[in-house]
Amino acid sequence: MPFTGKILLVDDEAHIRKYVGLVVRGLGAPVIFEASSGEQALALYAQESPDLVLLDVNLPGMTGVQILSGILAQDPDALVVMLTSLANRQTIEECLRLGAASYIRKDTPKEAILAELSAIVSDSPNDPAP
């Protein structure tokens, strides 16, 4: 079933937002919101309550971990997938412990990104994570 929900895409790099934005269109017909900073991301989350958040780990200003905590404070069931470039295992593990659903390396081929995200959104409809 094509995905038609809302996706919030958070990354400070415009080219990454553009690329990942185009890739996630492959999920179906999602409505995409973009944020380039933590403040923007938290405001958009509150306003739009997206079904899926794609969140960069390394942002200037508020870090990925801080943004993740802020989103989960608003909505403990939020579905957040971390976007990473450096496989910084400690940070990723911290995000997963805090409640991120998964993580994806930005240089993964787009087919694999899409497969991972499809699995996550089809697993989750209003099914609170265990």
Binding site: K18, Y19, L22, R89, K106, D107, P109, K110
Partner: protein, 379 residues
Amino acid sequence: MPAPAATASLLEGRSRKILVVDDDRLNRRILSRILLPEGFEAIEADSGENALELYAQKNPDLVLLDVMLPGMDGFAVCRELRTRYGAGAAPVIFITAKAGSDDVVEGLAAGGVDYLPKPIRAKEALARIHTHLQIRQLLAEQRLLVEQLSNANTAKNRFLGMAAHDLRNPLAAIRGLAELLRDGVVGTLTHDQLDLLETIHTASKQMLVLVNELLDVATIEAGELKIYPDTVDPLDLVEKAVYVANIEATTKKTKIAIVPHERPQPHVFDPNKIRQVVDNLLSNAVKYSPPGSTVQVEVESVAGSIVFAVRDQGPGIPESEHGKLFKDFGRTSVQPTGGEKSTGLGLAICRKIVEAHRGTITAENQPERGCVFRFTLPS
């Protein structure tokens, strides 16, 4: 450790301070009178304890040390200097009335560099002093050089890491956007447009591989290769890697197949790092096999260890070049079959990751054709 001031004076050739230790005032005078006309500064100490105190204050460049001292003897003073100042301690020349006796042997064992027999002969004393000051100066220069080189190497690694890291995201975006354009996500392209796009795609893909490998090398060389062990299902890891590698392999009409075995036991290793090794071996196998080949992958539990094997259909590795295979920038004469690029870093990185797991990695030609790369992770 040498004090910075002492190192500086050494490097400028101003090694001029000599600590003269003797309880006999007349002996100290004789030595001072030999030293002063040569431009040395003589610091006189009349006991072992006094010598240690003056050493700490004046930081001399060399010590002339009488063996027979009341209280703390010369050997004890010498040992104490070595303990306090380590390899940076000033050289100690013992003065002994009994040259040729056990005193000489014990003095050298205590860390002395030389000895002068009494009665002191001025020319001999000066010759030995000059020699040891020269050696000390050379050592200091060498130590400084090593330190400078090591700093330069650290800076290089940091720079490489930073550059690679900042290049990676934009490259990933360029490559990805080129793929999306090629796949017609935003409309159909003409044949010529597709041709140009393919060039952009290939070039950015190769650069991304190179940048990732440079980043890995920088990380490994900086001693920051950290293993985060986890309990992992090895077959699951291999299946995911094969899925992704097959996407790439289809462009060469090559297939990657997993040879069925009994399901391996869960094993403890760093899943990201081992995935990187598997990815690298798979991409190599595709790279060096002729188009249309089948690459075979195996993963098995063998006596508590886990063994991964990737079998390609390439020409194999010439016997004489096996030594190069797992070295940094160790490219062999074997060429990729589809014009792909090779940095010669991939297998060196694989080896370092496998060895960080206390495992081994090998390459072995098959009797018919092709090569098997195999790595084993112990329990």
